[in-house]
């Protein structure tokens, strides 16, 4: 039974003597009001020349002045168009289909445009394959309105106009051409057939031209392996829904592994269907999002991962003998399951090594895995490490005449690149901001954001997407492709070029307008797009996986302490470092914002005398270390003790520490790229404690549920779920009445709320398919104008997220295990459950306002600012709120957020809401809250009302599936679902009746309109 488990959020909670935890349980607002700041000390106060009487006079005067001033409203202008475009109706949103392809994230998306201004990114549900959005894609809208963007092209730091820029550049290039110097285009992965074709065209004119693709976080090993085995430089596609057994060795496939986007298929296998669900085993060193979702997670050091892979390979193919590892028992079980599942199994690895990837491919080939699609591979990574290394060497040797970097920032992410750039005769950067590379370049071309550009993307073989502008360029920018066409002397625009290419290659008679409308086009996989990057096909099929395995075995080299470099779901490779939404997004695992840090296991931390501790207001502090890899040292890296981190290993996130092209308040964390040597995410490392304390902005201990964590989330095992009745694993809550236990539905303080007429909204959250990816959090931010508050405020528990994803750790000590070990029933069992387990299981639980029918917040509001609607939504009238915060205190779920400050037009909060450009992202249908009022999830009432109004205007009932909220819209796995429970045919009604359904703290009797489906773990090891 679920409640036999003990859940905790932070190791601190397990310390029985912690006064802080107790304090936080008793008192939500842990910090006293900082009255000293404005009252000062007594002495100064007494010696002040302002007497009490003066003070009262001033108060009286200002009150009178303020009320007099309030009599006259300001004059508001209302300025219509001179000529209104036909497609624009002020107040009504238009949607455009486009695609994001920034070199790291690739997706087909819909853009919501209000009065010509994009305000929200949504998944393109027409695209069955790549139409999902992660947190970064959702947040990319804010990067459009980044006030650090380049507004003009520049030559040697001076702004120039485009014709001067192109003329100057053209003559320089012609000069270099005449001298026979090499011209190099360095791009990120474009996955754009048209851009690649254009560079090919350019090559035809300028002979000595090279196009090199550089991925900041490289998947070159996997690309090399696939090319070696299947002849094409691409990545295999995986459909995890077809896999009954999933074995992952350090592949964070629910996050950014190989371009991401696999969660949709994975989630399909995670809901028990006729008693079956997938079994997911993860071998990894740092706690990844994928590891957190696994049924069984083994902690191993990075160097051991290759051996685990080899042992599995050997056992499956019988090619060699196993070598001893620390998890042999686990491997044996896994192999048994893999063999039993046969072609319904899959093995994936995140090891950045060609041989390791070859071995993984060989295993899948050997078991004939149905989940691997090698016929239609993906093109979302194409960087070639060896060519990049060669380029840097050439540059240093002065062999490169011109270097054109396109929307990529190697000077930040590649060690030695900035120095090598100095040896290049002509450096040109096509960049959106004055980043590290642009500031080191002679020519800087200001390029538009993808929402202002034309383009195309070929994410997967046969699957094409178009990129179209959704707003007139905000600045004097020009696309790389247009500049290139001009340099070639063509008078064609890139739009015409793109259209011509598409008509002849992709569409072949199909409608261009239809493709533009849909944002996608498909073409039979047989007609291979000419991907010019695949030059080397000679080694096809010559590869022998046995030799790869032995090469891999030979390469294994352990060390005392090993570092693995990873990317966070928020920051990724660091492209959008200047995006405050992403910076403030709590990491799903560490729940920490505005930082990267060295993750370390408890064992290692104790051995090295490193500590994390919680200070009186609930904030987290930590020691700092210097991290050294191969003589490269990064100083003052904060240490974060992470349960589940393999002893002997540490981990550090890439993408932080951007110093140029970002606002000062976004220049945070440390740049870990100098440690990313030879494009290897695993490095031998040494650390040394240094003086100083780091202050984290961690929301981990915040908003504790008043000591009720034990009962808040539920999970069960597949075995129990299948074999036992619901009452065993999803016990409905009981309360005591007249010394008798009765069901919660039998007893109530309030009268029943009549909710049978009309629409009644319910939100369902399936914990089995929720991966904790946090796309919903950003979507909620964008839809509801949730402010960014900054690191300092987060640290003092003043985060404003309407939707948080709670992460609970739980020990693997279950009743069965307790009985086996003979400690069940004794105090030792409880000890074992609550001891800070070093490899905890993880449960994610998105929590937003539960919209209780019997809401405790409503009854305590002295001004009735929060009230209940018949449709089930708990309304919050900001203009009525006087800020007593009684409601927040009385909320058992801790979902209400208080505006401690005015977060817009306030230089203390210099984020997007403090400048005119950044404010363009605000949703005009949702009010921007002012200081001193409470706010919370509204169940996107502006969206539900709009849906109802649409139906009313069309004179028809609302269809099932029409109602959406920002979070359900963004959820790619379908874990979040929303609808009308008074419609007996609706999906949500079926979900409500599901056996797995439970409500949060149901015994409190609040009757929430949000319900959860408990998580099921497949613990079958045979």
């Amino acid at each position: 039974m679920a409640s036999n488990k003990k859940y905790w959020k932070s190791v601190e909670e397990l310390n029985e003597n912690s006064s802080i935890v107790e304090k936080l349980r008793q008192n939500e607002f842990a910090e006293d009001l900082p009255t000293d700041q404005f009252l000062g000390d007594k002495e100064t106060l007494e010696s002040s020349s302002t007497s009490r009487r003066d003070f009262l006079k001033y108060v009286g005067f200002t009150t009178a002045a303020a009320s007099l001033a309030a009599c006259e409203g300001p004059v508001v202008k209302s300025i219509p168009y001179v000529i209104k475009p036909n497609e624009v109706t002020p107040g009504v949103a238009d949607y455009y289909a486009t695609s994001i392809a920034d070199g790291y994230d690739f997706a087909n998306v819909l853009v919501k445009v209000r009065e010509g201004r994009p305000i929200k990114i949504e998944p393109n549900k027409l695209a069955k394959i790549n139409g999902t959005t992660n947190a970064r894609v959702q947040a990319s809208i804010l990067s459009l309105y980044d006030n650090n963007r380049l507004q003009n092209p520049r030559v040697k730091g001076e702004p120039v106009n485009w014709s001067a820029f192109e003329k100057g550049l053209s003559s320089k290039l012609n000069e270099l051409k005449a001298n026979g110097e090499a011209i190099v285009f360095l791009t990120g992965t474009t996955a754009s057939p048209t851009t690649n074709k254009l560079i090919q065209d350019y090559k035809a004119i300028y002979a000595n031209v090279q196009h090199i693709t550089y991925d900041a976080v490289s998947d070159s090993g996997a690309l090399d392996a696939f090319q070696a085995m299947y002849g094409e430089r691409a990545l295999p596609d995986y459909d995890f829904s077809k896999a009954a057994v999933i074995v992952s060795i350090d592949a964070d496939f629910l996050a950014d592994w190989q371009g991401g986007g696999f969660e949709v298929g994975y989630a399909k296998g995670r809901v028990p269907n006729h008693g079956k669900m997938s079994r997911h085993v993860q071998f990894e060193s740092n706690m990844s999002l994928t590891g957190a979702n696994a049924d069984k997670r083994y902690m191993i050091k990075p160097s051991e991962q290759a051996q685990v892979l080899l042992n599995i390979y050997n056992a499956i193919t019988g090619n060699g003998a196993a070598k001893k590892t620390s998890v042999d028992a686990g491997i044996q079980k896994v192999v048994k399951q893999l063999k039993a599942a046969g072609s319904n199994a899959i093995v994936v690895t995140g090891l950045q090594d060609k041989n390791a990837q070859l071995v993984a491919l060989a295993i899948n080939k050997a078991i004939q895995s149905k989940a691997v699609d090698t016929a239609s591979p993906r093109y979302v990574r194409s960087g070639n490490d060896s060519k990049v290394v060669q380029l840097v060497a050439d540059m240093k040797a002065g062999k490169v005449g011109a270097l054109l970097t396109v929307d990529t920032n190697p000077a930040y992410s590649l060690v030695g690149f900035a120095d090598a750039m100095k040896k290049v005769k002509l450096s040109v950067a096509f960049a959106m901001s004055e980043d590290e590379t642009a500031s080191a370049s002679q020519y800087v071309a200001a390029i538009p954001h993808y929402l202002e550009s034309w383009g195309d993307v070929n994410i997967k073989k046969g699957q094409f997407g178009l990129i179209q502008p959704t707003i007139k360029p905000l600045f004097n920018t020009r696309q790389f492709q247009d500049v290139l066409l001009n340099l070639m002397g063509s008078n064609q625009s890139y739009y015409d070029y793109l259209k011509t290419y598409w008509n002849s290659t992709v569409l072949r008679g199909k409608s261009w307008n239809q493709a533009l409308h849909d944002g996608i086009a498909t073409r039979a996989a047989t007609s291979v797009a000419s991907t010019p990057i695949n030059e080397d096909k000679s080694i096809k099929n010559k590869i022998n996986d046995v030799s790869a395995a032995s090469a891999l075995a030979a390469s294994i080299k352990g060390s005392d302490l090993e570092l693995s470099l990873y990317t966070k779901v928020s920051m990724g490779s660091g492209l959008m470092a200047n995006n405050p939404w992403l910076q403030e997004l709590p990491d799903p695992i560490t729940r920490t914002t505005w930082d990267n840090y060295l993750l370390i296991s408890r064992v290692d931390a104790e051995a090295k005398g490193l500590k994390n501790w919680t200070v009186s207001n609930g904030a987290l502090n930590g020691d700092k270390v210097n991290v050294t890899v191969n003589g490269v040292t990064i100083e003052n890296v904060p240490v974060f003790i992470q349960p589940g981190q393999a002893p002997g290993s540490v981990a550090l996130a890439l993408g932080y520490g951007r110093s140029k092209g970002v606002n000062a308040n976004m220049n945070i964390g440390v740049n870990a790229y100098p440690l990313y040597q030879n494009f290897n995410t695993h490095q031998a490392v040494s650390i040394k404690k240094v003086e100083g304390v780091h202050k984290f902005a961690c929301v981990q201990l915040q908003h504790t549920i008043m000591g009720r964590e034990e009962e808040i989330t539920k999970e069960t095992t597949l075995a129990e779920f299948v074999s036992k009745p619901k009452s065993e694993w999803n016990t409905p809550p009981h309360v005591s009445q007249d010394h008798q236990l009765v069901g919660i539905d039998k007893i109530d303080l309030w009268e029943k709320f009549d909710d049978t007429i009309g629409t009644k909204f319910n939100l369902s959250i399936d914990l089995a398919t929720c991966t904790g990816c946090a796309a919903c959090v950003i979507s909620c931010h964008a839809e509801n104008n949730v402010p960014v508050v900054g690191k300092k405020e987060i640290r003092v528990s003043r985060d404003m997220h309407w939707l948080r994803i709670d992460r609970y750790y739980t020990s693997d000590m279950t009743v069965e295990k307790g009985k086996e070990e003979g400690i069940y029933g004794s105090g030792g069992f409880f000890e074992a459950q609550t001891h800070p387990s070093d490899n905890p299981e993880v449960a994610f639980q998105p929590v937003m306002c539960q919209h209780c029918d019997h809401a405790p917040c409503e009854t305590v509001c002295p001004v009735a600012a929060t009230s209940h609607g018949r449709q089930g939504q708990n309304h919050m009238a900001y203009n009525r709120c006087i800020g007593t915060r009684y409601c927040a205190n009385n909320c058992p779920y801790k979902v209400r957020r208080f505006n401690w400050f005015k977060y817009f037009d306030n230089k203390e909060f210099d984020f997007n809401m403090n400048n005119d450009l950044g404010k363009m992202v605000l949703n005009p249908d949702v009010v921007v809250r002012s200081r001193g009022v409470m706010e919370k999830c509204s169940m996107c009432i502006q969206m539900t009302q709009a849906t109802i109004l649409k139906a009313k205007k069309e004179g028809r009932p609302v269809k099932d599936g029409e109602f959406e909220t920002a979070c359900t819209n963004a959820c790619s796995t379908g874990a979040l679902a929303f609808g009308d429970v008074n419609d007996p045919e609706s999906k949500i009604t079926a979900l409500k009746e599901d056996d797995r359904t439970f409500k949060l703290l149901e015994f409190v009797g609040t009757k929430p309109n949000v319900f959860y489906q408990l998580d099921v773990r497949n613990t079958n090891e045979a």
Binding site: C71, V92, A865, G869, H875, M876, G955
Partner: protein
């Protein structure tokens, strides 16, 4: 706040209460037709269609009692339709003369009200009777006035889109066209100019070529009499207008009731003297106490009223960059509100029309031809129309848009400023509920300058939501929910509030 043209509220409140007192006293003297009251009623009810000294929609009313008897006028005003139907010759003649536009009936007026109005219209008899009516002028010139009026009607309905009298538009100017072409030729041309050209008529081909080879629409349905009326109109229209204008120069000069200031002072003086007497002379403790209570109550009342008025901008009438008159557009010319405010059907915003919407009509209307006043004469209105052209870059001589013109949007002053925290959706009220714009915005078609008609306070919204019934007919959305709700509340038709239109979150999010 320089461009805001409105009274300070406390002052207005004070004045209005005084005027009320004054009025109350003056009412006692009003025995036989109170001109002051009459003016008020006239302005509120008649001024939309009548002027004292010039034609508008209806005839000028100055000295109307000299033409018609009081009894006739009373029955006409109360129900002109009934009078016409009864066969009254005068009534029918007026009806015919004014394009068969029936006058609104004012059956709810008391005889006293009507007497007041007539007292007002008689206040200063007209000096120049000849200028009062276009028809009268025409008659004096020996023209069949009815024919001219008919011709004007036909012209406006069929020709005005492409022709003006005195200037080129799409086609040639038509004033005095009969001097150039024969009536027979014109009849042929108007009914089927293509056939005329095909027949090889030199004049017809010449005109066709002159106007860029765009053929004129054929009007085979026009009868001989119609075309003759048209010709009569084109020949005499200019004379008529010139005459009509001379009549307009007479300006109404009703004596303002100059008594307001002194009466006010008098009342104030009495109150002050009485107060002084009570406190300092009378020595009556009880009176003093009562006076103090009265003063406190009065202060409290005015203070409360003043405080409640803060932020309520009812009557807000800012000066706009263009003296756009809704009265001319929506009232006189009967343009549908949603022709310009087309957003209201679809969006939460009603939308201020973009300049290109103005140009739909003002491409061909470069001059103002309606009634004028001293402050707002033709030159003034033409200047205002020119502002549209300046915004969009229209050359009214060449009738083309100016190439490469730097367009500048018109910066209107927003009148209805709902606070950010209140969500209001026009389409909900216009499309779903089928409300008239006037319900909230007042008689905009009578306003030269638009002002905020409703207080736009929450109480005002709620009041309407409480008593307005849903418009559920033929709306599939309401079919089920309305049936259930009406059963629950035991009513036939559910109000907006019962549907949930009083829940906070429906408007505040």
């Amino acid at each position: 706040m320089k461009s805001v043209n409105q009274h300070r509220k406390p002052l207005r409140l004070f004045l209005s209460s005084l005027i009320f007192i004054l009025f109350f006293t003056m009412q006692l003297f009003a025995q036989d037709g109170n001109a002051k009251n009459g003016k008020k009623i006239f302005n509120a009810n008649c001024a939309a269609c009548h002027k004292l000294d010039a034609r508008l929609v209806g005839p000028p009313l100055k000295g109307v009692t000299e033409k018609r008897t009081k009894e006739w006028l009373f029955s006409w005003i109360k129900d002109s339709k009934a009078l016409i139907e009864s066969g009254d010759a005068d009534a029918i003649a007026i009806f015919e003369e004014y394009n068969k536009i029936p006058m609104t009936g004012y059956s709810d007026f008391s005889d006293q009200d009507l007497a007041d109005v007539l007292a007002y219209t008689d206040d200063k008899p007209v000096k120049d009777a000849s200028g009062t009516s276009g028809a009268a002028t025409a008659a004096s010139l020996g023209i069949d006035s009815l024919q001219v009026v008919k011709g004007k009607k036909i012209f406006n309905a069929n020709c005005a889109a492409c022709h003006k009298l005195d200037a080129k538009l799409v086609g040639p100017p038509l004033a005095n066209i009969a001097d150039k072409r024969s009536a027979d030729w014109l009849k042929l041309w108007i009914r089927d100019n293509g056939a005329l050209r095909a027949s090889g008529d030199a004049d017809a081909i010449a005109i066709f070529d002159e106007y860029n080879g765009s053929p004129m629409t054929a009007f085979p349905e026009l009868k001989d009499a119609d075309i003759e009326a048209l010709i009569a109109f084109t020949s005499h229209a200019s004379i008529l207008e010139a005459k009509a204008k001379t009549g307009d120069t007479e300006v109404s000069n009703v004596a303002e009731v100059a008594s307001i200031p002194w009466a006010t002072y008098l009342v104030l003086l009495v109150v002050v003297l009485f107060t002084i007497w009570v406190y300092f002379i009378s020595g009556n403790g009880f009176l003093k106490l009562m006076m103090t209570i009265a003063i406190l109550i009065a202060t409290g009342y005015f203070l409360y009223a003043w405080l409640m008025g803060i932020g309520v901008d009812q009557g807000y009438k800012p000066i706009q960059p263009i003296a756009f008159s809704h009265k001319i557009h929506a009232g006189d010319n009967k343009i549908d509100c949603q022709y310009c405010h087309s957003n209201a059907k679809h969006s939460k915003l009603s939308g201020i029309p973009s300049v290109n919407v103005c140009m739909n009509c003002h491409k061909s209307i470069a001059e103002y031809t309606g009634p004028v006043t001293e402050e707002r004469d033709k030159v003034f209105y033409d200047g205002e129309i020119q502002k549209i052209y300046d915004a969009i870059g229209w050359d009214k001589e060449k009738l083309t848009y100016i190439e490469g013109y730097k367009q500048k949007p018109i910066e209107w002053v927003r009148i209805h400023n709902l606070p950010d925290f209140a969500y209001y959706n026009h389409s909900q009220h216009v499309t779903v509920a089928g409300l008239e714009c006037q319900t909230c915005h007042g008689p905009v078609e009578e306003m030269d300058e638009v002002e905020q008609f409703s207080p736009l306070t929450m109480g005002w919204c709620i009041e309407c939501h409480k008593k307005t019934e849903l418009k559920v007919e033929s709306n599939g959305y309401y079919a089920k929910i309305h049936e259930e709700l009406s059963k629950k509340y035991g009513v036939k038709k559910v109000t907006v509030a019962q549907m949930g239109g009083r829940e906070c979150g429906k408007c505040h999010y």
